[in-house]
Symmetry: C2
Subunit: 349 residues, 2 copies
């Protein structure tokens, strides 16, 4: 993957095991993208000694010192008002100032969204940004949004999320014409609330720039029926956490079954390599990196509890978005939508 | 379990494998509840020959013939208007007429809800009935509602669902003081939409008759954090289908892992008895039976694709509700709520 000339801004102070996990993650990302560069924001007294242990990373990094960091439980509004010198804010500023092509942080999600929205603004034609992530399915990988940025969504929000998800699937999953589905309680046209029914009519329009599959149901998410799952932030957040929790419970039940008898323990020994492959296939670190879509810049949120491998994957998402022109792709589908439909075109577009 | 004097009305024509699956399910239920009696509605030419093969069931059954049945794709409004002689409608009428203590059908969900609501009415103090079901968790079993009867829910609906779920958990799961959680996108008080925030305030009230845990998130559902999960029908339907689909996908991934190599196949042979136990633990037939709560009678919807064992379990839910006084329990908590809080008490209560 081409990474020449790409620079990523890192919030070195966000995440349970920061800054160690952040820098080791950057080091791992460098293995995959040797020409990548980093601008790192955080406490230099913690960062500098770590860098001496990472000789490959050292020449690829420039550090900007700050002793301030956003607390994990800080209210987004407070972080926005009083956090102008935090590592998170400075990393976002670096994107706005053209010093970096994207920002990655494992810190406070609400604060990161509030700051990124304030600093990077939303793209013309987008009312509200959404949080997207990808996940394993029967058919490979799919994208889902919104995962919690917008608890209440109207028809415009859902239509815009569909376009953002389409552009993300094209540029990060490399799909040529991703299929997009709208999450609902049934597949018939009359099902659901007003917002999903109206959004479906708009996306079904022959002139819509995306390939709209129609309504999908909850079990279509893990089945991979569509490449992009669109829903409001309330439902999306609950669906994705329900899926994660169910997979975890299943794993625990399975571990319990293997401990159940001597025979089962023997069986486990034989099956271990294959089970390790299964575990890799659904490893949450592979799917780390919730992306804020709809902003004027690239911003990726890593899970706070991830390790270096997970953080490296979150960096990878930001790099892929930049390398494959996510922002340009978004502008293209937005322009097509406003040209194709009778929607009032925003002046700024 | 005491089943003396309990009679269940069965819609013999609902479900993919009806009437065979319905009658065999009734026969299995009779094994568990030897004193149970059935009134069966459907096509006698199909039912009578089957009964000759089920000598235990035969004396426990009385058949009312009808050649009409609700089609699987019939609109609820049409079924309600034109379906007065269908097996489903006659089975519901039997409950209203005092000929049966509850009705079980594996037919069209929407039609069953519409007819049951029309015939059995809602309980005084309940604005809209909800669909509830139980499911396996880390700690045992929990109940969730609404699973799709009400796409849009206000604060009153959510509070009433909490009471209905409490009464259901007491009478069917046998819990003394079940904990009740409200599904949300975060556990902090400020999270979520207006309806869940207002419902939380009401349920937190010291005089509320239920044990309210507070907000829970999607991963709390499989974790079994609470005994009763309360949510609107849009979110609940999607969450439960997402969980089912995720468990199914995990099972497929697991089967694939065991097929992956000769070693893994050998491992499977050793672990098979333990894996069979795991499969039993999450067998959807164990959790068959979606219950319509809030009606003036007991109505249970079986999965349409279930087999005799699953249908027998759905009958078991109806029997437990009757034997343990679900309707009386519901009236008690409703009366406590209206006495305890400043809510305007419905005249009929």
């Amino acid at each position: 993957m081409a990474s020449a000339g790409i620079t990523i801004a890192l919030d070195a102070m966000g995440g349970d095991r920061a800054p160690d996990m952040v820098l080791r993650g950057a080091d791992m990302a460098l293995q995959r993208y040797p020409e990548l560069r980093f601008v790192v924001f955080g406490d230099e007294t913690g960062i500098a000694p770590l860098l001496t242990k990472l000789p490959r990373l050292r020449p690829a990094v420039s550090i900007t010192h700050t002793s301030e960091a956003v607390l994990d439980d800080a209210k987004p509004s407070l972080a926005l008002r009083a956090g102008r010198h935090t590592s998170m804010r400075l990393a976002i500023d670096a994107v706005a100032d053209g010093l970096a092509d994207g920002v990655v942080s494992a810190g406070n999600t609400g604060a990161l969204m509030a700051m990124a929205k304030f600093v990077l603004k939303t793209l013309p034609g987008i009312d509200r940004p959404a949080i997207a992530s990808f996940f394993p399915t029967r058919r490979g990988e799919s994208v889902m949004l919104d995962l919690g940025a917008n608890v209440d969504c109207d028809v415009e929000n859902l239509v815009q999320f569909a376009l953002l998800g389409d552009a993300f699937a094209r540029t990060v999953l490399g799909l040529v014409e991703p299929s997009v589905g709208l999450l609902n309680v049934g597949s018939e046209e009359l099902k659901g609330n007003d917002a999903v029914r109206a959004a479906s009519l708009r996306l079904r329009d022959a002139l819509s720039p995306i390939r709209f599959h129609g309504f999908i149901e909850g079990d279509d998410i893990p089945a991979g029926t569509v490449d992009v799952v669109v829903t409001d932030g309330f439902t999306g957040n609950i669906a994705v956490k329900t899926a994660e929790g169910t997979a975890k419970l299943f794993g625990e039940f399975l571990a319990g079954a293997f401990r159940h008898s001597l025979m089962a323990r023997v069986g486990y020994l034989f099956a271990r390599p294959a089970l390790r492959m299964l575990r890799m296939r659904i490893d949450p670190r592979r799917y780390n990196g919730a992306v804020f879509l709809g902003l004027g810049g690239i911003a990726v949120k890593s899970h706070g509890s991830t390790d270096a491998l997970g953080f490296a994957n979150a960096i990878g998402v930001a790099v892929d978005m930049k390398a494959n022109g996510f922002l340009d792709q978004t502008r293209i589908v937005l322009a097509q939508l406003y040209q194709a439909t009778s929607m009032p075109q925003p002046a700024a577009l």
